[in-house]
């Protein structure tokens, strides 16, 4: 007979490894937060060239800014997904884990379903030319996506999701501060959480 303690250890390890995606990378969180901060700063200089004022819609002509924001958003999404994918792949090699494992698949589909719904909601808002709640909508759906995917990975993703949802709600109540909340959520919180994850799991 083999050692029962070793067997139990083996059982636990296999249960965890087969259900949870372990290769999320904290350093990608920090990088994504930095990209988002740069994007938020650019958006700020475009939206408030004379400094912050509360009533955005009085003077702003959205048609002029629309192409710039579209390019900014697309660039940000590509950079973010690229960085997350690349660094997760590096980590998964280190963990000897496949990204496209059943656990990885479940994690990604749990994450992307709310994101796609949120993306379509934003398309509808753009179509209606109502830009007021876009930052809040992004935060809420992203937060819900994280909450939904949290059970398929390790770490503090659940808290990260809660923070994003709360910031999204605040942003709906105080829409004139939308850009600030967006930066707090996608920029600052990512940097903070990425650093925590990095020191906790990767060091």
């Amino acid at each position: 007979m083999t050692n029962p303690a070793d067997d139990l250890q083996e059982i636990k390890a296999m249960m965890a490894k087969s259900t949870r995606f372990l290769s999320l990378s904290g350093s990608s969180g920090v990088l994504i937060g930095i990209y988002a901060s740069i994007a938020a700063w650019l958006a700020y200089t475009w939206l408030y060239p004379e400094g912050f004022i509360e009533e955005l819609n009085n003077w702003l002509n959205p048609e002029d800014l629309f192409p710039r924001f579209l390019i900014l958003a697309t660039g940000l999404i590509v950079l973010t997904l690229g960085t997350a994918y690349f660094l997760s792949r590096l980590r998964s090699k280190k963990n000897a884990e496949q990204i496209w494992s059943p656990a990885g698949r479940r994690f990604l589909s749990a994450l992307f379903l709310p994101l796609v719904v949120g993306g379509l909601t934003i398309v509808a808002q753009l179509y209606a030319e109502n830009y007021t709640f876009i930052p809040g909508t992004m935060l809420i759906f992203y937060g819900l996506a994280l909450l939904n995917a949290a059970k398929f990975t390790v770490g503090t993703i659940r808290n990260l999701g809660m923070i994003q949802v709360l910031l999204g709600l605040f942003s709906h109540f105080f829409p004139e501060l939308g850009l600030l909340f967006w930066w707090l959520g996608f920029g600052l919180t990512h940097i903070f959480y990425g650093a925590i994850m990095y020191f906790k799991y990767e060091k």
């Binding site: 007979m1 067997d7 083996e10 059982i11 496949q98």
Partner: protein, 100 residues
């Protein structure tokens, strides 16, 4: 609470397969292979053994043109594995008490 040592789970690959199937509704051959880093032949032998014992159910299907074999734990398999787990825990507890 039933507790018995089952020889079927003595082998580490069969132990791992059962652990995975206890927490995943179904799992396919290639994913087993990737997760456990075993050869095709070795894995197939142990899966067949578990199947013969009636501990797992096998389902063959096609994804596009690729054949896929997926596995689920059976009722008997679940029972046997739980009994095996209980046995391991008992042994560990007894050892703890003896060493006190």
């Amino acid at each position: 609470m039933a507790a018995s040592y089952d020889k079927a789970f003595e082998n580490v690959i069969r132990l791992r397969v059962m652990s995975i199937l206890m927490v995943n509704e179904s799992y396919d051959f290639n994913s087993f292979k990737e997760l456990m880093d075993v050869t095709d032949g070795n894995l197939a032998t142990h899966l067949r053994k578990l199947e013969e014992k009636g501990f797992i159910n096998v389902k063959k299907s096609f994804i596009g043109r690729k054949p896929q074999t997926s596995y689920r734990v059976s009722k008997e398999g679940k029972k046997a594995f739980e009994a095996h787990l209980n046995f391991l825990e008992q042994v560990i507890n007894e050892n703890k008490n003896n060493s006190k």
